[in-house]
């Protein structure tokens, strides 16, 4: 005969009731709800390795100057802009694994529509796919200043002499971001390989491994006029990305010059034609 049990309150020994509409049962007598611990919330794993800085602040400033001087369309004030620069270790996840992609595509062909369908599948092993784990860095920015060499060192938060930020992604969320990145990378690769006009992919992921890591980043802020702009530097390799203002005066001048050249060309041909005609 099966045993029939009542639930007993852990604090007073009374019966426990689950009132309709309540998420947790409460003791009938003392109202205590301390019967269960909700330990489902996934903990955020702290990084225990980091990539050290190889670029000093002076080097980072030099990289910015060089980058700014190559911004052809930016107003010349950009070269004199003062850069507020902060070096910090930013949290990210690095993922490796195998992407198994089954794809269908349209490719160029000698058909009436100029296209035909094709399909295939490919497994691709990748590693070092980085996804940021902080709001200070976007995935696009991180992709542009990647890669980092995997020369990591153990990280101890207690003894860190550099400012660092704590990660904001659980393993589950980081995994979703990592697999999305892998899928996009593989799709871009396949698009090139098969010269797809249009491509659809469906993916499975195998042997996924993810590790939280801290990356050395210089974040720079500068102003042109009263508008703020931002650059992000790879603190290991010096790769840089960022936003820069566009000078409408410069563009107007360029368009003017272009138009003038075209006019001159037309006049030249016109005159030439006239002379030849005579």
């Amino acid at each position: 005969m099966g045993a029939l049990v009542t639930i007993t309150c852990a604090s007073c020994g009374g019966s426990v009731a689950m009132e309709a509409g309540r998420r947790r049962p409460a003791c009938l007598f003392c109202g205590a709800e301390t019967l269960m611990e909700d330990d489902r919330a996934e903990q955020i794993e702290a990084a225990d390795t980091y990539v050290p800085f190889d670029q000093s602040e002076a080097q980072a400033r030099a990289v910015f100057k060089e980058w700014a001087s190559k911004k052809f369309w930016a107003p010349s004030e950009i070269r004199g802009a003062t850069l507020g620069l902060n070096g910090l270790l930013l949290p990210a996840w690095t993922w490796s694994g195998t992407v198994e992609t089954h794809w269908a595509a349209l490719i160029r062909a000698r058909t009436q529509s100029g296209k035909r369908p094709t399909s295939g599948s490919e497994s691709w092993a990748v590693d070092g796919v980085l996804v940021p784990a902080s709001r200070s860095l976007t995935r696009a920015e991180l992709a542009e200043i990647s890669p980092f060499q995997s020369a990591v060192e153990p990280f101890d938060a207690e003894e860190a002499d550099l400012p660092f930020e704590l990660g904001q992604l659980t393993r589950t969320a980081a995994r979703a971001a990592g697999t999305r990145a892998m899928r996009e990378l593989h799709a871009a690769r396949l698009e090139d390989d098969v010269s797809a006009v249009r491509l659809s992919t469906s993916c499975l992921f195998h042997d996924l491994e993810g590790t939280p890591v801290l990356l050395p980043i210089w974040i720079g802020a500068y102003r042109v006029g009263d508008k703020p702009y931002r650059v992000v530097l790879n603190g290991q390799t010096g790769a840089i990305t960022g936003t820069a203002p566009v000078s409408w005066v410069k563009i107007a001048i360029a368009v003017g010059i272009g138009a003038a050249i075209m006019c001159a060309g037309l006049m030249f041909f016109g005159v030439g034609a006239l002379i030849l005609g005579q």
Partner: protein, 303 residues
């Protein structure tokens, strides 16, 4: 067949039907949970998010929105009973691998010349015609499914279960007897072999529409797939449903409310007299318009 057990709180004899794993003592309302070790023990339980009053309001609203509901039911308002039941579902995590064949159509345009008569003269004009070029194609497709639910209760048909979904299993807690206390909870009455067949069929159907969306051509037709399903994890979950019941002309009526989303599911009787009246009214209105139109035409014709 129900089993008689003794309430450990008041000593009363309590009947517990075999599919019930928890209920309240009819005499002292002490929450009772079947402490027997069962091999079909639930893995997860999702608590009730929607309190009874809200479920009752949802049911009332649902009935007000039905035009052709018999007035007696509409004015009856509250259900005769509204029970919270933790209904068993089989939850599948699975990988689907499909081989597909399909016709894919790619559109292209051509310029066509044609002749027409303008002001009594024959002229040649051109127009753009869109054509579709069809190709036979085949390939493979993969997908993963998390928490695909199949009803584990004979009392809840798979069709009703699908209408009640989705449930958020993220809110479910690991099984503990405390969570059952005070609720009616059912043990699964649909065995896992049968549920597995249902899951295979549903996932293969899902894959068919997924492949149709996946194909890159402008148009697709005749998508056929052979799909193999590999189950990576099977869980038995108890999900919260409010069940409202009425009696109407001697027939039992039942509506279900998803106690997470408030979605209301169930068949309601139709008042055929109301439907007939509505159809007649519609006919009279359109007929009236038709008559008026004929009259106007006749008058215009006479002018």
């Amino acid at each position: 067949m129900s089993v008689a057990r003794q309430c450990p709180q008041c000593g009363a004899q309590v009947e517990l039907p075999p599919e019930r794993i928890s209920d309240a003592c009819a005499f002292c309302a002490t929450p009772l949970v079947d402490g027997t070790e069962r091999d079909d023990h639930a893995d997860l339980i999702a608590p009730f998010d929607l309190p009874q009053v809200v479920a009752a309001r949802r049911l009332g609203q649902h009935m007000q929105d039905k035009w052709f509901l018999p007035s007696k039911l509409k004015t009856a308002g509250k259900p005769e009973s509204l029970h919270g039941v933790l209904v068993p579902f089989w939850s599948y995590d699975a990988t689907a691998r499909s081989d597909w064949t399909a016709r894919q159509g790619i559109t292209w345009t051509r310029i066509e010349t044609y002749t027409t008569v303008v002001d009594g003269k024959t002229v040649t004009r051109t127009r753009t015609v869109t054509e579709t070029e069809w190709f036979d194609s085949s390939g493979s497709h993969v997908a993963t499914y998390d928490d695909h639910l199949v009803s584990g209760s004979r009392g809840l048909s798979e069709a009703e279960a699908n209408e009640l979904e989705p449930f958020d299993l993220g809110k479910a807690l690991p099984f503990s007897a405390e969570l059952l206390a005070g609720w009616v909870a059912e043990a699964p009455t649909v065995p896992r072999t049968e549920a597995r067949d249902v899951a295979n069929q549903e996932l293969a159907d899902n894959e068919n529409s997924a492949i149709a969306r996946f194909l890159p051509a402008d148009r697709t037709s005749g998508v056929e797939n052979t799909t193999s399903i590999q189950v990576t994890e099977l869980k038995l979950v108890l999900l919260p449903v409010w069940i409202g019941t009425w009696r109407y002309k001697g027939e039992p009526l039942r509506l279900l409310v998803n106690a997470q989303t408030g979605e209301v599911v169930g068949d309601l009787p139709t008042d055929w007299l109301k439907v007939t009246l509505a159809v007649m009214a519609a006919l009279i209105v359109t007929g009236g318009f038709g008559l008026m139109a004929m009259l106007i035409l006749a008058i215009l014709g006479n002018l």
